[in-house]
Symmetry: C2
């Protein structure tokens, strides 16, 4: 056995080979990067502790392997089942909290983030402020909503001109357009560029709760856990602006069913919003005022917005999902 | 949030939402089986602790998801890349130890087990004792070996008649027959039925070290860890007999390179054997005497051979790999 790192003590009493986990960890060679070495050692320790603490059997482990293989086979450019498995175990939401921990702790903090989810698409139509993302080709049901607000710098409070607000949400049937052959391409998606005062505004629908796809391994796990697959009504955003850390977020309708019981644990108090009945605009039944605050890369660095070692989500990496 | 189970204390100091992990664990509904509830709660706790302790970023998590999805896409009836990923992290070997813990602790113990590996095939040819598993169609290189011994009951010491010794190993080029179009179907595989005295015997080759497949995610991980992909020379066995717990095992050549450094951590001292130079048999260069001991289902139950809740490896489940 190669032994380039000191043995990691297990720290748990158990009846199995006490040297095994350290031997596996110490097999890592001298050229592994420090971060890879750290993550792998920790992962091995947790995996082995999990197996020992629960006296995991070969059959049970094999069921887990088959579940993960099935998730991989189901994943393609339109669906990421491995991500969905993590989501229902709260992992994406937690990693999101870790990466953007400043968002929760700074005194005047940028908009809290939430998971990107598997339904983001690149290159949604770039539309002028005041436009409607509900496709004119379909006679949409649902409540029309006028959403508007500003994008500002969370430190200086100054408006950010030219920020891009990328928005997407489901149709009243609970499906995103790429899941639904009845919806036109890019229905309920759009990108809006803020004006001089950081302002943006568009018409959309008041969203509805919907189930995450439950015809695969994630659905199998939910069923075994006696859990429902529903997410509370929400609207997704990806915000970007030159010089600012991109924000991936969702806002949630306070009135929605499942607001306290999201299947993927993404709801944060600061992201819950109120849809206000709206008078005097024939194009909208509700108004949704919402202001975003972004952290510049400099401030993000200063306040350690990004946890961990390799840098947080960039627009490219977020968009790769 | 539904709350059917008591909150699980985290027990760790950290700067993240202290209630999050308990909320995810407590989402499990009342109809989940006790074992599923236990395994999932423990898995969630370990996953979340792993993420927090290492301040795992969104980018790093996403790399992990993509790795697992790629493993699933690569897996089929001939290759199990998810299993291979577990193997290089020592998980299959550990789960094997757990499942058959009696094998390591009973005073007179049945043959220690080792991982099945992904190259088992059903229905290897049933051959008479004394036959050769090296296909006559190929002019094999390698050292011919006469392997023989007995299969006995580990409690009574009595011979087991009619036990099936299912054997498989690689060719001198390091490939199993299903990986290698040059080898005839079922080359270097065979099943032998023990006689009245529990005896078996066959001709095979002295095996060689070989790399596990490293053209997929497991190879990527090994490379990042600065580790080699080699396994020490070994022969695989699956033993079965009516009324006895099946045994999945491997024996390892003491002289082999990598004997102290198996890429999948399957070597146990009790499984290391000596190939003895053999005189007087023109068909063999080496002799390999080896006796197997099996535990009856009754004894296995009595001595709690099977750890955990759902029963250990059955012949069917082992063969499903």
């Amino acid at each position: 056995m190669t032994s380039h790192t000191p043995a990691v003590p297990n720290g748990k009493d158990h009846k199995f080979n006490p040297d095994f986990t350290a031997a596996v960890i110490n097999a890592t060679g001298p050229k592994a990067s420090p971060r890879v070495r750290q993550l792998t050692a920790s992962l091995i320790q947790h995996l082995h502790d999990f197996a020992r603490e629960n006296e995991l059997t070969v059959d049970e482990w094999m069921e887990g392997v088959e579940l993960m293989n099935a998730a991989g086979r189901m994943s393609d450019s339109k669906r990421n089942e491995g991500q969905l498995l993590c989501d229902i175990l709260g992992l994406e939401s937690l990693v999101d909290e870790i990466t953007y921990k400043l968002a929760a702790s700074a005194p005047d903090h940028p908009t809290a983030t939430a998971i990107l989810g598997p339904f983001y698409r690149h290159n949604a139509p770039l539309l002028p402020n005041g436009a409607c993302i509900v496709s004119p080709e379909i006679n949409a049901q649902g409540d029309r909503t006028w959403m508007h607000g500003t994008v500002t710098d969370f430190v200086t409070g100054k408006p950010i001109e030219g920020a891009v607000v990328d928005v997407w949400h489901t149709a009243p049937n609970g499906l995103y357009e790429q899941q639904d052959p009845e919806q036109p391409e890019m229905n309920l998606r759009g990108r809006f560029r803020t004006g001089k005062e950081g302002e943006y505004g568009f018409y959309c629908l008041r969203p509805v709760p919907y189930p995450i796809p439950y015809d695969g391994p994630a659905g199998k796990v939910l069923k075994a856990l006696d859990r429902h697959p529903y997410r509370p009504a929400h609207i997704h955003f990806l915000l970007s602006a030159p010089g600012y850390k991109p924000i991936v977020t969702q806002i949630f309708d306070r009135q929605s069913k499942y607001i306290d019981d999201d299947a993927v644990f993404a709801v944060k108090d600061s992201l819950i919003v109120d849809f206000v009945p709206y008078q005097g605009d024939p194009k909208a039944d509700f108004e949704l005022p919402y202001d975003f605050k972004m952290a510049s890369f400099d401030d993000a660095k200063k306040h350690a917005v990004v946890a961990g070692g390799t840098g947080g989500t960039t627009e490219e990496s977020a968009a790769a999902v």
